[in-house]
Amino acid sequence: MSQYADELRSLVDDLAASGNPDLWNSLVGLGLPRVGIDEERGGSGGSLDDLLVVVQSLAGHGIGVPVVEASTADWVLSHARELDAEPSTVLLLDSALDAESGTLTAELSAVPWARDAARLVLCAPHSAPLVVDLRHASVTVSPVDNIAGEPRDTVTLHATPAVLLEGAPSYGAVRERLALLWSAAVLGAAHGAYRLTRSYVAEREQFGAPLLKIPAVAGNLARMRVQLVQADAALALATEAAPPEGATEIVRITTAAAATEIAQIAHQLHGAMGITAEYPLHHLTRRLWSWRDAVASERSWAESLGRRAAEAGESGVWTRITATGH
């Protein structure tokens, strides 16, 4: 991690704790969503590792802001042009788009935060990314929310002008960056759910003592910790200078599995309290449930990693996972 990691973490923690109703604009004002983009291109400088810290810390507070989407859209745009103040978002598609004519006609579903964004960066396989103006008269945005209550709107384009972003990162690179950012987000929310659960079982009394004194409760808390240990290690592996091949799949699979177990145990240990709207647990668990399968499902990452493993054979697999040298 970079030298700024601790500073960034405490900056974000302070902002999150301040209860600021316009947190997103404060974050933008501080340039945080543009961490990890070169300053000459309108970014805030710093590395991807720094951005991961920002994403993870925000997620730890159960805060719903478009940091992953905006930062990735801006990162793509910054390779083709200098950034301005307009908010952008990004959508990853699994099949190619036909924009030969310089316009696009399509119905796009689950476009994150489209209602709040001015621009949409579209990344499809086998082509450079495209950008469309979401405020163009030919565009309709119908609001849809995911189970975390975050915008995943339907966007309809009717011969909407679409500009190719030459020189922008490849589809694969964007997908990988998103996968890493979502992994950090899941990890942050998982840590948040753990922290909340730990203090709940330490304070709430049943049978005359804190829940934490009950061995089965303590054992469940330990199982959450074990998942965090595993997921932290996976992110560390994926952010190595030279991560092993398959690191993206590995970190997605590991964080998704941790999200599943942690959300389940967190609710169990909170009892009925965890189900109320008023109590903050659901801000974390609903995000864990949504984000664990962002970009692609856990199942599909697992299948693609498994296919490559089967093709490589045991010695290929082993060579890859020990490729970092140590």
Partner: protein, 373 residues
């Protein structure tokens, strides 16, 4: 992320081990098997490793070690386990007794024992568990009473792996009765050929003999064979357990099954579920080895990462079990033969989450730490 200083040497060490194990395997000198670190005993192989500087790797050169890092040692142990090589003869001594003596033993004890572990001459067994003290290790009853020039040991140890081959035992005994059962414990090195030591086999469910009962009847142990301070053994044992728990052997006991699973999956092109299952296991394996690396790094930094090692053992043991269940998901395992890769691993599997600390106990150790934090 920082690259370990050992990167290049780790690559070389891996290559060296691969070559050696391939030679021995091809010459029919061993057959790869699950759980080889506990079951596969071959003193010649251990001596061969010793001659090449591949055991006692982290010990100082003056005691016959190689003065290398725990990270480098990990590269070697991983490759040995992956190859299912016969490493049981030196495993316990190399892994934890040498380091324990180096940390806490007197100079005389270090000079006496450590070089013999390094050369593969001293074969160790671990005398911790007793019939009345398994998970609750602090309730050991075996006693060591001070006598002229040393200690007199009486007691009964159980589940002692490879005691029938061992030249030496590590012994946890009570040297005084205190109010807190964690006080008054001490660690010793005992010669297995001392008068009063007797070993009786315990045959396991596979019909194999690897563990034993060991009885100590008025066994004299010279004073200098005490490790560290009398009565302060608990702290030392806990530290030692992170060496015992934090290694790759806690994830790779059923590795030969994974080898088969990879091959089987390649043949089942259309089985998407099986591919997904293999993918998940691959991800877990990669993360486990990352954790092993982190634990080894912590040891190199002079820390005994008790909680991390416990978490690693817990996760690793679950992985070892799940690999076996994954192969069962294919058709290879119907009515499994005793000596098949699957059969061997399955029969060995109940031990995975017991030896070195039962799974529930590891969880409660982790939980205690969480409650304090």
């Amino acid at each position: 992320m920082d690259q370990s200083p050992g990167t290049d040497s780790c690559v070389q060490l891996r290559a060296q081990v691969r070559q050696l194990t391939a030679e021995w395997r091809d010459a029919g000198r061993y057959a790869p098997r699950s759980d080889s670190w506990l079951r596969s005993f071959d003193l010649d192989f251990s001596k061969e490793l010793a001659a090449r500087g591949l055991i006692a790797m982290t010990y100082p050169v003056e005691f016959g070690g190689a003065g290398r890092t725990n990270v480098e040692r990990l590269a070697v142990t991983e490759e040995l386990l992956r190859a299912g090589a016969p490493v049981a003869a030196h495993w316990i001594g190399d892994r934890q007794i040498g380091p324990a003596i180096l940390r806490h033993g007197t100079r005389a004890l270090q000079e006496e024992i450590v070089p013999r572990i390094a050369s593969g001459e001293a074969v160790f067994c671990l005398g911790m568990s007793e019939p009345e003290a398994g998970s609750d290790l602090a309730s050991v009853r075996t006693s060591a009473e001070p006598v002229e020039g040393g200690w007199l040991v009486n007691g009964h140890k159980i589940w002692t792996t490879q005691a029938h081959h061992a030249t030496h035992a590590y012994l946890l005994a009570r040297t005084s009765r205190e109010e807190r059962k964690h006080d008054g414990l001490s660690e010793f090195i005992v010669d297995m050929d001392s008068e009063g030591v007797s070993v009786t086999p315990i045959v396991d469910l596979a019909g194999e003999h690897h563990f034993n009962e060991v009885r100590f009847e008025n066994v004299f142990v010279p004073a200098h064979r005490l490790i560290g301070e009398a009565g302060k053994g608990w702290k030392q044992v806990v530290e030692q357990l992170s060496f015992e728990r934090g290694g790759a052997e806690r994830s790779l006991s059923s590795y030969p099954v994974l080898v088969e699973l990879v091959a089987e999956t390649a043949e089942q092109q259309d089985d998407r579920e099986l591919h997904a299952l293999l993918g998940t296991l691959t991800a877990r394996l990669a993360v486990l080895r990352r954790l092993c690396y982190e634990v080894a790094g912590a040891m190199d930094a002079g820390r005994a990462p008790v909680q991390q090692a416990a978490a690693l053992k817990y996760l690793g043991n679950a992985f070892e079990h799940d690999v076996i269940e994954a192969l069962r998901r294919t058709d290879r395992c119907q009515d499994p033969a005793f000596d098949s890769v699957f059969g061997q691993a399955l029969i060995a599997s109940p031990a995975f989450s017991l030896r070195g600390g039962a799974a529930e106990v590891l969880l409660s150790l982790i939980a205690r730490q969480e409650a304090r934090s």
